[in-house]
């Protein structure tokens, strides 16, 4: 079943295609001709030492680098064949959910955190539609049961792990095409991490997920494909099983076995 799903996804055109992506922060070049294909409805992990460019690449996809002074992006990135640089940045970001290292709920109630984007983008016609989207999103994020009797409590009253799941619920409420996660578990304890990882596995049935993680064990646990970045270049990408048992490139081997940092 899993194998047939894998084959089916491999046959489909890639969700994201990047070719020759260079990123500069002022004079400093952070990415060097990065080329990558991301399959649909799979989890792709980006790994590599600090400063290798994995988060920079992630931020290229929803054009968050556009808002950084002095940052220049060159090259070619498409989502479903559409050049992201020809799209309106706000419209593009509405199609892409993003989850950050530290949970960043709005200073509003649990309900409002999920409802906010839905209202802004006019995705619900009626109050009951909105309620349904909020409930469905919280349920997908595995949070509905824990917060059902306190939807109007402040989001900050939740634990860190719950806040992160709320952020995921907030992202999926907008029915994004892909979800970007930048070290989503680095501030969480092992139990909260396990819940998020479980959620990632469930969401990957419907969403394309890109996750940046410093934990190689996490990349090995949650992803179908892994991409290894080093010094701003993609060194190797492949099936996660292959990368963590028999990487093709020496640099990958050295990094994942803790021989280079």
């Amino acid at each position: 079943m899993q194998q047939s799903l894998e084959k089916q996804n491999e046959k489909e055109p890639p969700k994201i295609v990047a070719r020759g992506v260079n990123v500069y922060y002022g004079e400093k070049q952070a990415l060097f001709s990065v080329g990558l294909e991301v399959p649909p409805r799979r989890v792709t992990a980006l790994i590599g030492p600090s400063g290798c460019g994995k988060s920079t690449f992630l931020r290229c996809i929803n054009r968050m680098n556009d808002v950084i002074d002095g940052c220049r992006v060159e090259g070619f990135i498409t989502i479903d064949g559409m050049d992201i640089f020809s799209l309106d940045a706000v419209g593009l970001r509405a199609r892409i959910g993003m989850v950050f290292q530290k949970p960043n709920p709005f200073p509003k109630s649990i309900y409002e955190n999920v409802a906010y984007g839905v209202r802004i983008h006019s995705l619900a016609k009626t109050k009951s539609d909105l309620d349904a989207i909020v409930h469905h999103s919280l349920k997908r994020a595995g949070l509905a049961r824990e917060v059902s009797d306190r939807l109007h409590d402040p989001a900050y009253s939740l634990s860190g792990g719950q806040q992160q799941r709320l952020c995921i619920a907030r992202a999926i409420a907008l029915q994004p095409e892909l979800i970007l996660m930048d070290e989503p578990c680095s501030a969480l304890d092992p139990i909260a991490t396990a819940r998020i990882e479980n959620l990632i596995a469930e969401l990957s049935r419907n969403y394309t997920i890109l996750i940046v993680t410093h934990s190689m064990q996490q990349a090995a646990r949650v992803s179908h494909r892994t991409v290894f970045f080093h010094l701003g270049r993609v060194i190797e990408s492949g099936a996660t099983n292959q990368i963590f048992t028999k990487p093709r490139r020496k640099q990958t081997e050295r990094y994942i076995t803790g021989r280079i940092g």
Partner: protein, 264 residues
């Protein structure tokens, strides 16, 4: 072991090195066990020398059991603490397999020695020195295995892997020869059965050595070992100076080849 530079965490290097040293120590002990096991089939032995021989075998068997337990414990601890990846993961998994195989080979050697010792007073004892042939093959395999453990050599490993077929061929030929021998000498049945079970232990020992080669191949290459096209096995029986002791019965070369084809 990987040829890569050291781990950033040097204690991990030290732990892997200790694991590797324990495997080499096991290989050395097994090698001594095999020599001693074969010695028990020597025709003449003083009573004291034999007791010393058996005592040495018992001590080494205990040491092998102890080392196997330590390798397994260490491998489990390393897997839990270090969460190894890629070549480190393979090294640890293979260390468990190799230590298990070395320990089993040690057991087989002890069983061979028990049979050799039990046959000490057999009237047919001089015929049983034929066990030296499969034992010599096994010793060559073992030497190659220990060498590959020390430093991986794919071409040597493949030669060692193929050598198991020679042991199988020798085992089958001896089985055939001594079956006929028993028919002609009904009084020998009890002794020959002991002898043939010792030969069977050598054959099993060869299988274990072959499995170590396969594990080491996986460690080095990252791929599950795929058997290469096989050359014909050794034509040792009944050829030139390689006749079995009871050469009255003789063995046709074709018989040896036929039986050898079941290898692997």
């Amino acid at each position: 072991m990987s040829d890569d530079p050291h781990h950033i965490n040097r204690t991990f290097d030290e732990e892997l090195s200790r694991l590797h040293d324990m495997l080499l120590r096991m290989g050395s002990l097994v090698s001594q066990q095999l020599d001693s096991a074969l010695d028990t089939f020597a025709i003449t032995h003083e009573r004291d020398a034999r007791a010393e021989l058996m005592d040495g075998i018992a001590q080494r068997e205990k040491a092998l059991n102890d080392l196997e337990r330590r390798v397994q414990e260490m491998a489990i601890n390393l897997a839990a603490k270090r969460q190894p990846m890629a070549s480190d993961l393979r090294t640890i998994i293979v260390a468990m397999k190799v230590s298990d195989a070395f320990e089993a080979i040690g057991d087989h050697c002890a069983s061979i020695a028990e049979k050799g010792s039990a046959l000490m007073h057999s009237a047919y004892r001089k015929h049983f020195t034929e066990i030296a042939k499969p034992c010599a093959c096994a010793a060559q395999m073992l030497e190659g295995v220990v060498s590959c453990c020390r430093k991986w050599d794919e071409s040597l490993a493949l030669k060692v892997w193929q050598k198991d077929r020679d042991i199988n061929a020798l085992h089958d030929a001896l089985l055939q020869e001594f079956s006929k021998f028993m028919v002609k000498n009904p009084n020998s049945i009890s002794s020959v059965v002991d002898f043939l079970s010792a030969v069977k232990y050598v054959e099993r020992l060869g299988d274990r050595l072959k499995s170590i080669v396969e594990a080491l191949y996986y460690e080095a290459d990252g791929e599950i070992f795929a058997p290469p096209p096989l050359k014909p096995p050794l034509k040792a029986i009944g050829k030139g100076g390689g006749k079995v002791a009871i050469n009255k019965v003789g063995t046709k070369k074709s018989d040896a080849n036929k039986s050898g084809n079941r290898a692997s």
